[in-house]
């Protein structure tokens, strides 16, 4: 056993990803448009543009489409899922699960666990860890974990440039049916208040530069390093890596700190095109990698959620990916479907304009 072998999470029954699906809404708000409104155009935007949900979209609708794509790829009936878990910080209800609506819409009810997970941007991977445990213990053959968000940044705040929308769904199942087999995972969590939103508050608060070294970098780097050490892998053993993407610079710096080349993170680095999709961020990046990966490729995926913690996963792609990936739209199909909007349309779609209508 390796020195830190007790820290790694490995199910007694080998598991992997049997199906995956992404969703990104079609509207895009360019960063220069936000800069024009709030900084006279003087502030260079941290991302080129971000995905914006339409007026009839929310975490539930995005999760449903991602879940349908995952089911299509897995090729299993929805009623074989024993869990549908939705991780998000923007559930449409404060009380009433998103997951029951998603489970009903995909046909997974009623013999299914359903619940909503909350851990800022790592709520989706937290649900994935639980799904690995549920299948890995033999309690279930299939469990679905979703990470999705329609993130809100306060108008004029630095976060408004990046707070995007999108989601991804993963079906965890037996390793022998998987398109990517899990080698192991690791979770690294501390109480670090870098970003938060109090109950009933509309917009989040953050600790400015405090969100960097003690929060994002510390947790991502430790989780990735400890997992690779326990598995005996090195950065050069991975064809791809994907990290949580609050902006373009952070994942690039994390990659360098860990010894990865930028080519390894390029395929999954989507933040410049869709913004920070919070609980969907590194998971949508992982779907974009699975859309292109070849059998035998090894993938490192590391989330980060404020508050704070990281989940790291090491996966090896199988032959099954080649046949399954085209059973549903690829992530790039959604990214290519883009309609640019102005700030006024964005303000309307994101319901920032007070209508005072009660139906």
């Amino acid at each position: 056993m390796y020195e830190n072998g007790h820290r790694i999470l490995k199910p007694s029954r080998p598991v992997g990803i049997v199906g995956y699906g992404a969703y990104v809404p079609r509207y895009r708000l360019p960063g220069v448009e936000i800069s024009r409104l709030w900084a006279g155009g003087a502030e260079p935007p941290p991302v080129r543009e971000k995905a914006v949900p339409g007026p009839d979209e929310d975490v539930v609708t995005m999760s449903i489409e991602a879940a349908r794509n995952a089911l299509a790829r897995a090729g299993i009936a929805a009623n074989r899922l024993r869990a549908v878990w939705v991780g998000s910080e923007s559930h449409p209800y404060a009380v009433k699960p998103s997951a029951t609506i998603v489970a009903e819409a995909i046909g997974a009810t009623p013999y299914v666990q359903a619940g909503d997970w909350e851990f800022a941007c790592k709520a989706g991977t937290e649900a994935m860890q639980a799904a690995i445990g549920l299948v890995g213990s033999g309690m279930a053959d299939y469990a679905m974990a979703i990470g999705a968000d329609t993130a809100q940044g306060r108008p004029g705040d630095a976060l408004e440039y990046t707070a995007g929308a999108g989601g991804a769904a993963f079906i965890i199942g037996p390793a022998e049916e998987s398109l990517a087999i899990l080698e192991g995972s690791l979770s690294y969590v501390t109480d670090t208040p870098d970003f938060w939103r109090r109950a009933h508050a509309r917009y989040p608060e953050h600790g400015g530069r405090f969100t960097g070294e003690p929060a994002y970098f510390h947790h991502i780097v430790e989780a990735a390093r400890q997992l690779m050490e326990a598995l005996g892998t090195r950065p050069e053993d991975y064809t791809y890596a994907v990290f949580h993407q609050p902006n373009v610079k952070f994942p690039q710096k994390a990659a360098r700190m860990l010894g990865f080349r930028l080519e390894q993170i390029q395929t999954g680095l989507l933040v410049d095109e869709i913004g920070n999709t919070y609980a969907g961020s590194c998971l949508i990046g992982l779907t974009a990698i699975l859309d292109e990966a070849r059998p035998g490729d090894r993938i490192l995926a590391v989330s980060f959620g404020s508050g704070a913690g990281s989940d790291a996963f090491s996966l090896v792609v199988t032959e099954a990916v080649l046949e399954r990936r085209d059973r549903a739209p690829r992530t790039r199909d959604y990214i290519a479907r883009r309609v640019v909007i102005d700030y006024a349309t964005y303000a309307r779609y994101r319901r920032k304009i007070v209508m005072d209508t009660e139906a």
């Binding site: 079609r26 080129r48 339409g54 007026p55 009839d56 979209e57 929310d58 539930v60 609708t61 449903i64 489409e65 449409p92 209800y93 609506i101 009903e104 819409a105 995909i106 046909g107 373009v248 690039q252 360098r256 080349r261 930028l262 080519e263 390029q266 395929t267 680095l269 989507l270 410049d272 095109e273 292109e292 739209p329 690829r330 790039r332 199909d333 959604y334 990214i335 290519a336 479907r337 309307r348 319901r351 209508m355 209508t357 009660e358 139906a359």
Partner: protein, 145 residues
């Protein structure tokens, strides 16, 4: 919409679940339990594919209460590939883009929200069929260390 009414229709509304007539094979939507073709009982649930085309449409500028956020929106008759004609809102498409015969697919979206406190009604809408992207590489992704 009262929550009980939305709840009763959740299978048809969330995932376009219709019925099939065991007598003549007709696919029915919305479910009505009696086949309009042969007048025999038709209670077997049947999941419709959600694919079809725009049969006709109109653009709504003066909405009923609860739909103000979405104006202008398109209400269309969709000819499903299984046969039934369904009335539904279109989404992810502007009035200037839609045309009769446009291929569409079902998605589940917010139909309306009852203010800030009421229930959120989800249900089927139709959008233009998602097209396969031609180019894969990202124009903005970094290529050098």
């Amino acid at each position: 919409m009262h929550p009980a009414r939305a709840w009763r229709g959740r299978s048809q509304r969330y995932r376009l679940e219709g019925e099939i007539c065991e007598g003549c094979g007709a696919r029915l939507f919305p479910p009505r339990d009696i086949c309009p073709e042969c007048q025999r009982p038709a209670r077997t649930p049947y999941p419709l594919s959600g694919r079809g085309e725009v049969y006709s449409y109109t653009v709504v500028y003066e909405p009923p209460a609860g739909y103000e956020e979405q104006v202008p929106y398109i209400v269309a008759l969709i000819k499903l590939e299984e046969g039934p004609l369904v009335s539904a809102m279109l989404t992810d498409v502007g009035p200037e883009e839609v045309y009769i015969g446009m291929p569409v697919e079902m998605v589940t979206r917010v139909l309306h929200r009852q203010g800030e406190h009421g229930v959120i009604a989800y249900g089927y809408k139709f959008r233009p069929i998602l097209r396969r992207a031609v180019t894969i590489p990202s124009p903005s992704a970094p290529v050098t260390a």
